[in-house]
Symmetry: C2
Subunit: 432 residues, 2 copies
C-alpha cells in the first residue's frame, strides 16, 4: 500500500474549492482532504509540496481517434470529402498496422498526459495495440471495437466484428485502465438491424456503445432519404437511447430531437473545434444542457482539430456558446469543468471517476498558478477554464499513480516517442 | 554593431518557408537568409543554434487594454452591462493610478512576450505608464491617447484630451518601440464633431486613429436611433474611412457596410474570443477579407478573453470561420498567419514590420518543434496555427534584441512582476 499527501493552495474537492490543504491518496483511491496531517501519521505518507498550485480532477476526452496524431497537419483547409478521400483514407490504407497504431498511440498518450487528460474514449482500428500503448503510458481508455455493415480487412460482416470485440473484452476484463466499448461507426455505414445487433451484444457484456451521429447536413439528408426520419429518431427506434450509449457530434438536430435528447438524458460528446474546422456546423449545446442532455467534450482526432488538448477545447466551448446562445451567462466555468470531468465519466459509465472525493479513483492534475497569465487569481475555476494552459499542468496522477511530475512523463520515454514520430513522419510524407 | 546568426530547421522568410538555414541579423534589422555563413565572416556573428526549431515573424495584437490583466477573472459569466457596472468600472475607479497601470502593464508585457507578441495596439488610460512598462520590457506598443465627449479625471473636454496626447507624442517621438495613436472611444461616447477633431489632430501628427466600432447590437441601435444611420456609415461620413484608422470588433455590419469596408480597405481588429465571451456576436470575417478589408486579430483586454494569447486566438479564428462561412477551405493557416503579422502591421501603419525580410525590423519568434503535439510535421505554417501553443515559443527578438531566451525573459524580472500581481490581487479582492 502506498500513501501520498499533496499540499496545495486550492483543491477542487467534491465540487468545491478547499484552500491550503492536503489531499490524501491511499493506493489508487482518494482518502480525503485535511488541513493538517496528524503528527503520528506523518511518516505514513509520501508528502508532495505544491503550495502555489491547484489540484483539479483529471480531464476525460469523450471522443477521439488517438492514432491519427500521425496524420496531424497532413492535409488542412480542405472540404471534408477531399480531405478524407485524397489524404486520410489513402494514408490509412497505406500505413495502418499494429506497429503504426502502437507507436502513434504512445505519442497521443504523451499529448493526453501533458494536457491533463486521464482517460480517452477512442474509436479506431487495431484497438489491441491502442490498449497496449495506453497501459504502458498509464492512461485510461475506453476503446471502441468497430462495427461496419461492409467487410474490411478486420472482419467480413457484423458478426465477425463482434467476435473480434469478444477477444478484446476477454483480454482486458480485469485491466484497471482499459474498458471496451462497441462502436458502430454511424447510421450511414451501419444498418438499423446491425445497430440492434450491437445493442444486444453490448448489453450482454455490460458495455457502452459509442457512435457518430448527426455530424453533417449531408448525413442528415442521407438518413432522411433512406429511412424517412432523422438520425436521432432512427437511433431512438433501434433502442440506442435506452441503452448505455454516447453520441459524438450531434450538430444537426431539430427542436424535437433536442427535446428527446434532453428527456432521455442522452450522452453527447461535443467536438466543437473539429466541427469548426471541417465546417460541419454548430451543436446547440446550451439548449441540450438546459433540456437535460448530458454533454461532455471530445477533441475528435488530431487530423481534424489539430490537437488533443481538451483544456483549450473547453475554453473555446464555454466562450463560443455564450455568443451562439446570445447569453453571456451561459455555460459558465463550472459547467465547462463538469463537462470535462463528471459529465464525461457519467457519459462513459465510469464508476468512482470524474471527481476528487473519498473512495473515487485518484485521477487528478496539479496546475502551477505561478504564471504571468494566472495572477492575480480571484476564482480558481474561472482561471482554470478561461486562462490556464495545458502547459501549466505540472503533475498528473491516474489511479493514484504519479504519471507526470513537473512536466516529465514518468511512464514512457518521451524522446524515444518523438524519434518514432519523426521516423513515421518521413515515411508518410512520401505518399503526399 | 551587433550581428547574430540563428540556425533553424525552418525560417518563414518573406512569406515562404526556407529550410536548414541561418537567419542573419544586423543590429536591429534583418540582413538575409543564407545556407552557410562564409568562412571569413563566421567570427562576425554570435551564432545561435536552434536546429529543431522554426522561426516566424513575431505576432502583433491589434486591439487590447493591457493593464486589465489585473482584473482577469474578477468577474466572469456575466452580461456585459452587469460586468461593466458592477465589477469592472468600480474596480477601475477604485484602483487605477500610474503605479497600478505600470505594474499591470509589466505583467501584461510578460504574457505578450511569452505568447510571441512583439507589438500591442493598446487603448487605456495612463498611457505614459504603459509606455514606460513596455519600454522596460522591450516590447513595441501603439498606445492610444483616449478621447471622450465628457470630462474625466484626465481631461475636461476633447481639446484637453488632445492636449494630453500632444505631450505623449512629444515624449515618445524618437522612441523606437512606442507609437502614439488617437483613441476616440466609440461613436456612442464620442460625437461626430469630436471624431472630426481627432482626425484633424491625427493627420497633423501623422497618427493612426483607433476606435471601437459595431461591437454590439445595442450600439448599432443606439447609433441608428441617434443619427439615423449605421456606425460604419457614420464613420464614413466623418472621414474615418479616408484617414489612417483601425476599427476594433466590427461585429454587426450590413451587407452594404461589408462592401464599403472592402472597397475602402478598412483596417479591422477582429476580437473573436472577446465577442464570444461577452456574447456580442460573430463578425463576418471571411466576407470582409474576400471584399478587400484588411483584417488582423486582437485579444481585447484580459478581463473579457481571458488572456493575451494571440496564437490560440488565431487558431480559433481560422477554425471558427470555416464553420461560420460553411467553407472548410476558408481562412487557411497562411491567412491566419498573415492576420497575425503583415495585416496587423499594415493596419497599424508600421513600416518595415510584420515580415522577416531584408531591411525589416528583426521582430521574430523561435518555436521548438520537438514537442509531442508538433511531430510528425508536414507543414510548418499549418502546425504553427493549428497545433503549436504559446508555450512552444522559446525565443523572442524585438528590433534585433533578444527579449526571451529558452522561455526566460531577459529584460525584466518575472518573479518580481508575479509578486506585484499577487500584492495587487489581494488589494483588489477587497472590493469584490
Amino acid at each position: 500500500m502506498s500513501k501520498t499527501a499533496i499540499y496545495a493552495k486550492y483543491i477542487y474537492y467534491d465540487g468545491k474549492i478547499v484552500e491550503d490543504s492536503y489531499l490524501l491518496i491511499n493506493d489508487e483511491k482518494v482518502e480525503k482532504v485535511v488541513k493538517e496531517i496528524p503528527e503520528n501519521q506523518k511518516y505514513d505518507y509520501k508528502i508532495i509540496e505544491r503550495s502555489n498550485s491547484a489540484i483539479f480532477p483529471g480531464f476525460i476526452n469523450t471522443h477521439t481517434h488517438l492514432p491519427m496524431v500521425y496524420f496531424r497537419g497532413l492535409a488542412d483547409d480542405l472540404p471534408l470529402m477531399e480531405w478524407l478521400q485524397k489524404y486520410i483514407w489513402p494514408a490509412e490504407n497505406r500505413w495502418l498496422s499494429d506497429e503504426f497504431v502502437y507507436d502513434a498511440t504512445l505519442l497521443a498518450a504523451c499529448e493526453l498526459i501533458k494536457s491533463g487528460t486521464i482517460c480517452a474514449n477512442d474509436m479506431y482500428f487495431y484497438s489491441d495495440s491502442i490498449a497496449q500503448a495506453l497501459i504502458n503510458a498509464g492512461v485510461k481508455g475506453v476503446l471502441g471495437a468497430g462495427v461496419l455493415d461492409f467487410p474490411t480487412k478486420f472482419a467480413k460482416n457484423p458478426d465477425e466484428y463482434l467476435d473480434k470485440a469478444k477477444l478484446l473484452i476477454e483480454k482486458y476484463r480485469d485491466n484497471d485502465l482499459i474498458n471496451i466499448a462497441i462502436c458502430p461507426h454511424a447510421p450511414y455505414t451501419v444498418s438499423p438491424e446491425n445497430y440492434k445487433k450491437c445493442i444486444a451484444f453490448a448489453e450482454r457484456y455490460g458495455l457502452v456503445i459509442h457512435t457518430h451521429l448527426a455530424e453533417t447536413e449531408w448525413e442528415v439528408n442521407e438518413i432522411y432519404n433512406k429511412y424517412g426520419k432523422t438520425p436521432l429518431k432512427l437511433m431512438d427506434e433501434v433502442g440506442m437511447l435506452d441503452t448505455k450509449s454516447i453520441f459524438a457530434h450531434m450538430v444537426h438536430l431539430t427542436d424535437e430531437e433536442i427535446e428527446v435528447a434532453g428527456k432521455k438524458k442522452v450522452n453527447i460528446s461535443h467536438c466543437l473545434e473539429s466541427n469548426f474546422k471541417l465546417a460541419s456546423g454548430f451543436a446547440r449545446v446550451k439548449e441540450l444542457l438546459d433540456k437535460g442532455a448530458n454533454v461532455s467534450i471530445g477533441t475528435d482526432g488530431a487530423a481534424s482539430n489539430n490537437d488533443l488538448d481538451i483544456l483549450v477545447e473547453a475554453s473555446v466551448v464555454t466562450k463560443f456558446h455564450k455568443a451562439y446562445s446570445g447569453d453571456a451567462t451561459a455555460l459558465d466555468a463550472k459547467t465547462a469543468l463538469d463537462m470535462l470531468t463528471i459529465n464525461a465519466a457519467k457519459g462513459l459509465y465510469l464508476e468512482n471517476t470524474g471527481q476528487i472525493k473519498e473512495g473515487n479513483f485518484a485521477d487528478f492534475i496539479i496546475v502551477n498558478l505561478d504564471k504571468v497569465h494566472l495572477q492575480p487569481l480571484y476564482n480558481p475555476v474561472s482561471q482554470l477554464i478561461y486562462a490556464a494552459k495545458s502547459s501549466d499542468i505540472t503533475d498528473v496522477f491516474i489511479n493514484g499513480k504519479h504519471i507526470m511530475e513537473n512536466r516529465k512523463i514518468l511512464t514512457i520515454d518521451e524522446e524515444e516517442v518523438l524519434d518514432k514520430a519523426k521516423y513515421w513522419g518521413k515515411k508518410i510524407s512520401g505518399v503526399k
